[in-house]
Point group: C2
Chain length 444, copies 2
Amino acid sequence: MIDETHDPALTSWVCPEGHAEFPVQNLPFGVFSHAGGEKRAGVAIGDFVLDLAAAAHAGPLTGFDAGAVSSPCLNALFAWDCDTRRRLRQRLSALLSQPGRKSEVEPFLAPANRVTLHCPMAISDYTDFYAGIHHATNVGRLFRPDNPLLPNYKYVPIGYHGRASSVRASGAPVTRPSGQCKGEEPVPQFGPSGRLDFELELGIWIGAGNKLGASIPIGEARSHIAGFCLLNDWSARDLQAWEYQPLGPFLAKNFLTTISPWIVTAEALEPFRAAQAARPEGDPPPLDYLWDEQDQEKGAYAIDLDVHLVTPKMRAVGAAPQVITRTSSTYLYWTPAQLVAHHASNGCNLTTGDLLGTGTISGPERGTYGSLLEISAGGREPLALASGESRSFLEDGDEVLITGRAKRDGYVTIGFGDCRGVVVERRRDVGMDVLAPMLRAGHR
Amino acid sequence: MIDETHDPALTSWVCPEGHAEFPVQNLPFGVFSHAGGEKRAGVAIGDFVLDLAAAAHAGPLTGFDAGAVSSPCLNALFAWDCDTRRRLRQRLSALLSQPGRKSEVEPFLAPANRVTLHCPMAISDYTDFYAGIHHATNVGRLFRPDNPLLPNYKYVPIGYHGRASSVRASGAPVTRPSGQCKGEEPVPQFGPSGRLDFELELGIWIGAGNKLGASIPIGEARSHIAGFCLLNDWSARDLQAWEYQPLGPFLAKNFLTTISPWIVTAEALEPFRAAQAARPEGDPPPLDYLWDEQDQEKGAYAIDLDVHLVTPKMRAVGAAPQVITRTSSTYLYWTPAQLVAHHASNGCNLTTGDLLGTGTISGPERGTYGSLLEISAGGREPLALASGESRSFLEDGDEVLITGRAKRDGYVTIGFGDCRGVVVERRRDVGMDVLAPMLRAGHR
């Protein structure tokens, strides 16, 4: 529901000029810490973070369950019913937009560049889907030029389980994985991956869960979604090619998944809902359990997604990050509600804090691809960079940054914050003396 | 290390005649509750459960961290170093075998048939391997008669991530999943699975974890294993056949995984270690990161595994469960240490409470197969039962019970407890009036 919290005329006394990512219309939730301090729930506003627990205890947020916002993760908060969450959003919107509340709230603000952001939920299970139809087609074409999409693709929201323990907030080093790679030799070799890749995805955070043995009807699926983040499903293509049959990707993916640490709520994204446009005329309609008219008309999201690359050479000469991908979440073949309904359709129990990846989001042409595998056509057509370098896959020191913006005429644009990682060599002793300059460059 | 706790002459004053599964040489850890009570850590001895937390607070277990054994799950206990765990085992062995300690310990014993057993750990991530080479061959043959094993099988311990949220202790109802099935019609149909199956596996519980980006050398892998359980990886074959390409099984597996609730510790299983015998002469040797001489000589386990089936007709006439499979963990192609070392070889962080399934364990011939898919040759050769019935796949009301025994000459046999489930129709209101008689029959 679009309400007064989305009013484009609303401004915050924290950032009266507005903010590219975190204007008062956004109000994403996250978990942060001061140096050496404990993890705390927070809300992003402009270049500041509001300490939710302190505000709940000291006054401005009385009436809400202080225990839920005092936890070191947001699971308790997102287990709340949608109405309570919406009331909290309305209260925060009022506190941060009404100049008269400034003195009451200001003590609970910390500059964002002075805190560390963490994974916002204790992740119960992490599932990765494959809903980017152009990605599925592009990757399928590398293996099956004449028949890129498998027969199940337009019926089944294809997904698989990923690794929850290795999901990390933006900034975590991307340690190049080692593994078995099979080349021309008869015997595979174990060593560092030579085909390290990124994958541009959206992440979907689950709020309320369902009981084991029950399903989630498509018409109710939206109410189980807490919010969204950006997600980089780092992938080692050489490990993947050798290991993935017959049971799917495993060590090629589970060494790290990076997320943008703010949960941009479903409430904040209400104005950016869009018709499900990625299913071409003539495609089979979704089966009944995935079909909901309202979901088809308003269940997709219009989010612009960019991938930026910084190489060590670019960093050395102070060059700006190069945008290598501009794409959009409208290329997803299945809506978030369809992914949720499918996941629970067999009675599988989703739980608060589950993370679902959409799968890699690519558009139909060059410049819109969400992975280097597609950009470099499997390594055969290296990407030429403005720095004079080229890349088929990622090299040590390369930094990948994913950003996202939800935009719509008549509404204030909101962002997601950074989803960033720098590739580092395995086993090298990576101290902050090495990483800090790389990461500092990104604190915009 | 085999020590005095394995002495075959040792008896417990709790069960001086010994016990088929839980003699004093076993001492498995679990989590139990009294009716309406909270979850508590316990140890099985004969037909009784020792309340660890109460014993730690009241005296007999002083010197151990009472907090760790007072938790509603065993994660803190199994995060202990191996030495501390071994000392606890030695103390428990002494308390339960020395008649002079009876009066001190007896107040903390509860009859096992009066308590409910629960999942013993808060499961962080659940991974399922595919290490049963005969199973992989049998299933592969159904799809590729001339080339059943894929080229990676003898190099890569094939595995994939499963669903942690739907792992349940023995006795949980097996709600028949619905899903997309593709028959002869051009469009798949959504409905209850018609090819519901069991999969006989061992489960491996992880104790100490590793840091993200670090690996676990094969020589250290054993020290990361807390213990073992029986595991039934229920599978819907029709859902699986349609959904599994290209990313592996998903909804066909994640509706339920049943485990035997006692953690039979690595310490208890020391006498039953065996040479790795499932790799035939002429097969390629494991790559260096999976090769350890001691592991090859003593890293496998000799555990007899049986599958028992009870149909509603058998239950109605009071017939005994029919053993439909007798097999052995010696058919696993990879040792538990190899699975652990492989899982962490790319830097993936294992964490305390992770559960690894070995994959379905089958032998080379009929009568030793670990799934109905193999027993019925994909449904083409239904299994004839002594009751006059036949089964290709599971029907509503069918009960599957997996049992396991570790046996070796000169040592006392130890067991795992039950791993049991009854198939129930989806959405039927299954109250305990229906389930209780089915489950009670199994409380031996």
